[in-house]
Amino acid sequence: MAWVLEDARSAVAASLRRRHARERRFRLLGLAAVLVGMLFLLLLFVTVLSQGIGAFRQTELMLPMDVTAAQVDPLGDGSRESLAAGNYDAVVREAIHRSLPGTAPRADRAALVALVSVEAGFRLRDRVIAAPELVGQRVELWVPSSDDVDLYVQGRVNRDTPLAARELEDRQFDWVDALAAEGRVVRVFNTALIKNGDSRNPELAGVRAAFRGSLYMLAVMLVLAFPVGVAAAVYLEEFAPRNRWTDLIEVNINNLAAVPSIVYGLLGLVVFINWLALPRSAPLVGGLVLALLTLPVIIISARAAIKAVPATLRDAALALGASRVQTVFGHVLPQALPGIITGTVIGIARALGETAPLLMIGMVAFIADIPRSPLDPSTALPVQVYQWAESPDPSFVARTAAAIMVLLAFLFAMNLLALMLRRKFEGHAG
């Protein structure tokens, strides 16, 4: 027997080296995979951040406005109606001309007006209507610059930029420099980005309408998909008999989870808009479609979480005379809740990032008005990203990245909430 033992030992020793080497290789491979993943994530964040950070600030110009009654009070009675009908753009135009000596009011008119946003006139109007006593005075007012000026102030374009790639000429840069020299140029937080809906003017475009739309859809999904999904999972896992029908249902749920999202959009178009005549472009419909889309994911993850609750816990409750319902709601669900919440949030977060199904129900649209209810026309954050990304305007490129940041922040906030809920319920259960 001795020689057999010898052989076995040397064989083991030889194989040990191989096994250790394999283990080392695998560990290195795993580490490399993690590093590559981190690298891509970092790359994503860095690109988005570097492109989008500029969109969170907006250049404003201080212009001396001569608010003359002739221009802003056409009816001459100083009433609200009269002031609202005034020609404030003319006041702004003259103010730019006045603050830049050496410019010709007529010949340079277009070039001068290109410096400020169309918002400038509206801001002056609001100011004057709020304080009618300003009529006849000179008002120093900060107004938003055009996005082209903003790009120049940011340093994204300069005199070396080919003319084809910029909207402003060198002399307009000179004017901005002149204003800056007087301290009349400043960059402030871009409130338009979070207060406005979409706009054709990049300096006025905001994500408010899209954010609202996503929020409404989130609410519809939470109200619909979560309870329905959990109830279905509880029924299938705890109450349904195991037979051909439940097998069929299970297979179908798994298949539904793999159905492309645009198919759900078509379904929503046919069922909710054509049959039920719900309004087009409404977050209610979007929420319904996304709820359907998430339902299989929620059911599958909730079933997994319920299945993971040890049978001994069920036995303990049942053996004390608890009914099935008491066992499920008193013991199984609380124990499974952290897992269910995680699954639900992942499902909902995925759905909120969907664009394709919204395409079919008309939520891919230019929406300037902030929706006031889930029935108002609206769009969603990922759709806003998609729409801005289509524009070649470098200012919209920055806003695209900014919208991505808002979307990511929204999803991170949801995940954080889920994590906190998970902790809370785990603490409660443990």
Binding site: R242, L313, D315, A316, L318, A319, L320, G321, S323, H331
Partner: protein, 281 residues
């Protein structure tokens, strides 16, 4: 200890016995607490228990012994209808507790499990406070009128399993924070709290160290004063220590039931002898 005597031939229940059953010993007692007649269990297509007939006396600890897969745990789970939770389990035969048919129309399984409590192999306290663990049963059955009564029940039950002194300062601590032995005693206290007549124990000490085991065995002996206890065990020493009668199961059949002393010293069946002497199982 209850009078355990062989049942007379002319007893009315004897006629329901299947003819092929040749159980050795004394399966039947006078005025039993639970009466099991001709019980068989199938899981899907497999029969795991064949025509078992057996009485459980008041104030006795009945030990069920046998190799793994002999059907003793299945038999135990018949007594409080825990087999109902297994989808393809089919139980046939008759089981009565104090003359009430446990499969009868007017027997609710919830009510049955309040009368026949169960303690499991692995301590399984609820992930809640010690207090809530014991209070759960009385709460769902509405046994306590107010908080003071509930407090009373919880304290009594914890006291009866010898846990009160150890945990009375931390009734709010999680049940899972206790040691394994304490957890198992908590599970017994939880079972006592619903006021059962019979307590089923499925290898209650197999996850415990010898000291905790000894405490549980002492407890079983003390509990026998008020309850009938059926205990499944793999340890023949344990069966000998805690039980008055022992039933030996083999491949789904009840082979022999007898007073524990007699069964271990003078087994009546060759299979029993082989098992207790270690030649089998």
């Amino acid at each position: 200890m209850a009078a355990v005597t062989p049942q007379s031939e002319d007893h009315d229940k004897a006629t329901t016995m299947p003819s092929e059953t040749e159980v050795v010993g004394t399966p039947f007692v006078d005025t039993p607490c639970m009466r099991v007649r001709d019980v068989s269990v199938r899981y899907g297509g497999t029969a795991v228990l064949h025509n078992v007939s057996l009485d459980i006396a008041h104030h006795e600890a009945l030990a069920l012994i046998g190799a793994s897969g002999s059907g003793k745990s299945t038999f135990l789970r018949c007594l409080n209808r825990m087999n109902d939770t297994i989808d393809d389990a089919r139980v046939s035969g008759e089981i009565r507790i104090d003359d009430d048919d446990i499969h009868g129309r007017d027997m609710d399984v919830v009510a049955l499990r309040a009368r026949v409590g169960m303690v499991f192999q692995k301590p399984n306290p609820f992930p809640r406070s010690i207090y809530d663990n014991v209070a759960y049963g009385p709460r769902i059955h509405g046994l306590a009128g107010n908080r003071a009564e509930l407090d009373d029940i919880v304290h009594q039950c914890l006291d009866r399993v010898g846990l009160l002194a150890e945990v009375k300062d931390r009734l709010d601590a999680s049940g899972t924070s206790l040691s394994d032995g304490q957890q198992q005693r908590l599970c017994i206290a939880r079972t006592l709290a619903v006021g059962p007549e019979v307590i089923l124990m499925d290898e209650p000490c197999s996850a415990l160290d010898p000291i905790a085991t000894a405490r549980i065995e002492d407890l079983i002996d003390a509990l026998r004063e008020r309850y009938a206890i059926v205990i499944v065990t793999h340890s023949m020493q344990q069966a000998a220590r805690v039980s008055q009668r022992t039933a030996y199961f083999h491949k789904g059949q009840l082979i022999e039931v007898d007073e524990t002393d007699r069964l271990f010293t003078n087994p009546g069946h060759r299979l029993t002898e082989d098992y207790i002497t270690g030649r089998l199982g």
